[in-house]
Symmetry: C2
């Protein structure tokens, strides 16, 4: 940034704010006419970073120059993207002041990291502070993520990054000395154990205020699933009341500003589709520490189509989670689990909710794999409690004698009421073309079918799997059923499923 | 990109193209209404990468979703940024087809590089091909630059990157067996040796088809300087005729698509303000190889305010240039030079042209430092010729007996005519506040004064330096004079100069 000059006091200039309604996600963008006197006198051009100030608020925006003849913005106007508009709290016609921004000191650290250097706690703090303040452009954010990817961060740096992320957000605290939590690193379709685990742990008397995310690349997140059963967008006060009364909750984390830096960086990681162990650990643990947890179980599924491909890598990641956890004051226990095929039957918000309800209600058709996974993880959560020796046995008892189901209902009532999940208007089966044994289920491509069918935007949409690996199917027997709310989405999902073929691979039996 | 699904044939959708006139620089951007059926059915959201096709042309654009109530684009419209519009060759109302793009295979290599892996020649080729084809988003480009920064590329990778960049652009060839060239890594104000060196080398009979750049962060590039004297935007055919007749030329390289990958990456490097030796070497040498050069002198100034801070680093960079050059078939000779203070007197296109003319015309007021630097470098260029032993002596003779000046005039005539550089309408001196010795000249901040005065957009603008380091000045004596075309720019430059103080540092003499 040494090329951006400090600016004399005479050089600031004012333009009328104009809302253009353009959603540029997390980068504030400013649109100015090429003929605008400010552009010319300040030497601003497309991609220049410009300081935009209004009533004591100031943001840094990225400039897009607009050709005057298209009339998008006039010479005296500063067009603003939605984020810029919101951050400035602008009203139509407000006079905003434009100037060259002050140099961003932490970019020196970013450049050091890009050059392969190490960052100490202060450097991480300053970077994370500037990220949260919106001072970094998308290019800066991407460069930071890239420089930290892979083995880019060592153990100490991950600890520093985690602490810096926690420091830059709000932090919840609870009356209890011990606050338990669980988290799955994701990537496994239908692995919806959270509602069951929370019910079991809360029924045992543990404090478990669970904040969950919505789907980002999958057909459903835990918050989407729970929302088909009960309200999940709760105020911090409401969350507090639920937890005081029922020991636990299952709410959407988005309404609580825990680790806002993570929310920003995670978008970039997703756009780059880069999985970086250091950033994953910092991301998860910063959210847990900010949520006031003391003891966390981390579920790490591994398998050829999961996030982690080998048992070795899964175990190494588990130790990394536990080590960083210790440094930031969290008791972390990693559980390595089988991630070789989807879990449960339904994929999509309502369809997964039905699986969860079936397990809690001990229905005969309840998917056994979901039940077993939930019990395994609940066992580890319960073992945080000094009075529990055999967590598995305690968990099973709580589930089987109906205490978990009762607790789950009580939590939903406290959150605003329990309701039945919606059913899709249209369904259509996809059948086996030949008889044989189910040899493989493609986790990732099945997820796409559910998304094409409308999940998670349409909560009833998704698919229901009828066959598991190793089962024998006859020709013409349904392998899965697509659920959709509109004919177009159903056709779209079917077209994808038939074009791809072999989402459920049936091999002819040889005997 | 594994999360982007391949798309069934039924899923493409058409919208009417609409030109919005928004310059988004090198990222193609698509603007669609949130209510647009394509957005909804395809699950597109802001930052989605979308394939936009028209008449067999297809580009990948980044989506910005627009709130419908602001009326920027209608439900049936696809708003396009200037780059998207140009690349598609669109006309108003054309029906463009939108779909999910195919996965970009080379992103696997990008992720490998982010994770600290090495890239072989094929991986580099594929990355550079996708960069040139516009398949990378700005985030991808930034991640690539960050992953390659610092020591991110080893010797073999720099060689692969250089070759890949050459392969992805057009390549010039010349009749001559030996084609010489020179390049300065930049960062030193007024170091305008190129026109003098080309004149000397061409006068000696060497083939030297010089393509130069315009200013990017400095007050003048060689192309800007030459443009005050003669046309520099020439067709490849015209360049060829000039070089056939006069052995050399000094033209703007922008009209020749040499190493287009470099043009893209260099913008990102600039936005991140990251200097990466590997990328610098690949950038320079790819352009030289593509320009058909065989033998290149590289000027590496070093000093506390130059790009390279220590003699050691300058020499190491020089060896790096020479080594990579050998691998890509270029005879490279690096010259490490003094970069501790600006070169010549004038800074800004026309003012630097006057310095160049003064040296070529052997005027008594010609800046001695510019002359000496030009002779040093010309000597090294001449020594590529087997018949030259003492290059310095030959260069001096060609300059002093008027052959260089005659050749320079002939080149300008061949390019379209020699003209007198413009003079600025307004000038204003900045004077010494006290008597003393000039202790330091701030290269970077003096450059900003010249830019605030209007350089390079106004070719006559800039500043003229009256004092050199070590010279004694009286109080009130002018240190430099600002040249500007408008009162506003003059005031702006003066305000900056007085706010900053000590651009030319005068220390009271103690005796």
């Amino acid at each position: 940034m040494s090329t951006i000059p400090a600016v004399p006091a005479t050089a600031t200039t004012q333009l009328r704010a104009r809302r253009l309604g353009i959603d540029t996600r997390q980068e504030a963008v400013l649109y100015m006419s090429r003929d605008c006197p400010v552009c010319r006198s300040e030497g601003f051009e497309t991609q220049s970073r410009v300081k935009v100030a209004l009533n004591g608020q100031a943001i840094i925006a990225t400039l897009n120059v607009v050709e005057p003849r298209f009339g998008l913005v006039g010479d005296g106007e500063a067009g603003l993207s939605e984020l810029a508009w919101r951050r400035l709290g602008a009203s139509e016609g407000d006079l905003v002041t434009l100037s060259h921004p002050e140099p961003i000191a932490s970019l020196t650290y970013l450049r050091r990291k890009m050059s392969g250097g190490r960052l100490g706690p202060r450097a991480m703090d300053e970077i994370v502070r500037d990220v949260v303040a919106g001072r970094y452009s998308e290019l800066h954010l991407s460069a930071f993520v890239a420089a930290c990817a892979g083995g880019g961060l060592d153990f100490d740096e991950v600890v520093s990054l985690t602490r810096a992320m926690v420091a830059q957000g709000s932090r919840l605290s609870w009356g209890a000395r011990q606050v338990v939590d669980k988290h799955c690193i994701g990537g496994l379709l239908g692995n919806r154990t959270t509602p069951i685990i929370v019910a079991i742990a809360a029924a045992h008397g543990l404090t478990i205020p669970k904040t969950s995310s919505r789907a980002i690349t999958s057909p459903a997140g835990t918050a989407d699933v729970m929302e088909t059963l009960t309200p999940v967008t709760l105020s911090v006060d409401h969350i507090r009341r639920v937890v005081e009364r029922e020991n636990g909750c299952i709410v959407w984390g988005g309404s609580v500003a825990l680790s806002p830096a993570d929310d920003i960086l995670i978008r970039i990681e997703r756009a780059l589709d880069v999985d970086s162990p250091g950033q994953l650990v910092a991301s998860v643990l910063s959210k847990k520490a900010a949520a006031g947890s003391t003891s966390v179980v981390i579920d790490i599924p591994w398998g050829p189509r999961a996030k982690i491909w080998s048992l070795d890598d899964a175990e190494r990641l588990g130790r990394f989670f536990e080590g960083v956890g210790r440094m930031v004051g969290l008791d972390v226990r990693a559980v390595v689990s089988d991630g070789s095929q989807p879990v449960g039957r339904g994929f999509g918000p309502a369809l997964e909710a039905l699986d969860v309800l079936a397990v809690l209600q001990r229905a005969p058709e309840a998917p056994a794999d979901l039940r077993e996974r939930a019990l395994d993880l609940a066992a580890r959560v319960l073992e945080f409690s000094p009075d529990v020796r055999d967590g598995r046995e305690v968990a099973r008892a709580i589930l089987d004698d109906g205490r978990a189901w009762a607790k789950f209902q009580a939590i939903c009532v406290a959150q605003g009421g329990l309701r039945a999940p919606p059913r899709a208007r249209l369904t259509h089966p996809v059948v086996a073309r030949q008889a044989g044994v189910v040899a493989d289920l493609d986790n990732r491509r099945l997820a796409r079918v559910a998304k094409f069918a409308g999940a998670p935007a349409n909560p009833a949409a998704g698919l229901v799997l009828h066959a598991r690996r190793g089962e024998v199917v006859a020709a013409g027997e349904p392998l899965f059923t697509i659920h959709a709310e509109s004919r177009g989405e159903l056709d779209y999902a079917l077209a994808y499923a038939s074009a791809e073929g072999d989402l459920v691979k049936v091999e002819a039996t040889r005997w």
